[in-house]
Symmetry: C2
């Protein structure tokens, strides 16, 4: 099936804004409301597995971009999709991809305005460009603004499910965690407003909490401590997570929650917003990251994060 | 080499605008001047060959996007790069890619503001998102505005070199044409101003002059004629091109020149702009495309264009 037909059949119905011109043209007009832009790619065999259901891949693609924008205090606006599609994948799979992609864009209030579809000699590869509207004039909140004395906040109830889910998937198992690996849980859009209003530094957690917190503190020229017992960790059973489980969760990747810093004066307002977010540490002046478990120091693991490679 | 190091070493030096934040963050701030956006992908084995020098691939990537914007009456502004890079490609190749990419962005006045680098299990794949500033309030010029009586214009001195060059490359030959296949000749930026001022419909020629002219006329709900003898065609020798050579050039792809329509009242102004562009036909009310060779009708070939597949 030719590129032109694919676009008309599966993607044009998703592109309802005037600026998209029904995807019949080579360029789109942007809404003019967005001042922020991000791009994220997902590659078969790297960011998802060849036998992951293609609808979950579509949802993950949207979410990893939305997560970037929320972490910067922006609400997503418009998107352009680059789709590299192997001939060996059936048209029904393309239809399933487009359906889930459209639904997921709808969940987050994003309009498809353009893209490019190309043949792929091997696996599926995807790149999504997404624009965002700054929730306040302070946004985008950069990585580099952490100040000594700030609280360190982490969104989400439980991290680490994706890493466990990837292990399950590689073992051929299907689990609640593997479903989260396939379609990550990300903060809701209101978190963008909270971050835009209060955060001094912010980023999304994609390479592991420890590694990403190290990056954030280093970017701000400061250091900090992390109370591992305050980090909500995903586990299959009901018992409380052990230190080993918490550390494993904090070096696992693909969580796509937000890690941000804010002054103590903002704590009440952040809590009052009623979102899923909690204080997990404090910024201090001594370079580096120090870990604690119920008040006792814990050595930093040699590997603090996850590299997609 | 980790993604973070690649970006810092090879791409951050290209990202000099404040909005790029040195590529250390996950989002960029756009200039606010651009209202138009396009995205184009190049895939190893589909749009370029595995042994094409990687610096030519970088230049082609920039040019195919710039060509889209010029055809719509826009000057390019900012870009975001998605780079899928196989482990098997050496770092020296990445350095060569980044160097040529930066130089080529500079040629067209484009600033790199963001991107994503990911591992590729197989070949190189590239997706470039590029924003454009409308050269007049009429832009973007859509495909669909052609009116009966308009002249049909084609930019560039000679088309068809890329198609010949691809054949040369596949035969293992190096030629002037193969160099044009690798790095297409596109219109200069001033052509964006001409198109934005005068064109009623416009698109870039990437799938062949005949196929793309068919699309443009159909989008406008009209038809037209093309004087094949007025189309400048690339050929290695000095002799004038035969009808067969002209037809071959007009169904070949990868030219990236602009095809546009404009009313006769604009002819003098378009010529006065002094760009490389000429009238090759006229729009009429009868659906379909009719070909002529020195005034004599010529049947339309069964295949009018080129599909990258």
């Amino acid at each position: 099936m030719a590129e032109f037909d694919w676009i008309a059949k599966y993607f044009a119905p998703l592109a309802t804004r005037a600026g998209a011109a029904g995807l019949v043209d080579d360029v789109a007009e942007v809404s003019g409301k967005a001042s922020i832009v991000t791009v994220d790619a997902l590659v078969e065999g790297v960011h998802f597995l060849g036998d992951d259901p293609i609808d979950t891949v579509a949802r993950k693609l949207v979410r990893v971009n939305v997560s970037d924008l929320i972490a910067k205090g922006a609400r997503p606006d418009e998107a352009l999709l680059t789709l590299g599609w192997p001939k060996a994948r059936e048209e029904a799979e393309l239809a399933a991809f487009a359906k889930a992609f459209g639904e997921e864009l709808g969940v987050w209030g994003v309009s498809l305005i353009g893209g490019d579809t190309v043949a792929s000699p091997d696996g599926v590869f995807l790149s999504l460009t997404m624009t965002g509207i700054a929730a306040t004039a302070r946004a985008p909140i950069r990585r580099s603004g952490a100040r000594v004395g700030d609280e360190i906040w982490l969104t989400g109830e439980k991290i680490g499910a994706s890493a466990l889910g990837l292990a399950d998937r590689r073992a051929g198992d299907v689990s609640e965690a593997s479903a989260i690996y396939q379609v990550p849980v990300i903060p809701d859009l209101e978190m963008a407003d909270v971050i835009a209003a209060h955060a001094t530094a912010s980023m999304d957690v994609s390479d592991g909490v420890l590694a990403d917190l190290q990056k954030l503190l280093a970017a701000g020229g400061c250091g900090g401590n992390l109370a591992l017992d305050q980090v909500g960790v995903y586990r299959a059973g009901a018992a409380e997570a052990t230190l080993g489980e918490v550390l494993a969760a904090c070096v696992g990747g693909d969580d796509y929650q937000c890690l941000f810093t804010a002054p103590g004066s903002a704590t009440r307002a952040i809590e009052a917003a009623g979102r899923s977010v909690r204080v997990v540490g404090q910024v201090d002046a001594e370079a580096g990251l120090r870990l604690f478990w119920h008040g006792e120091p814990v050595p930093l693991p040699e590997t603090t994060g996850f590299e997609h490679s």
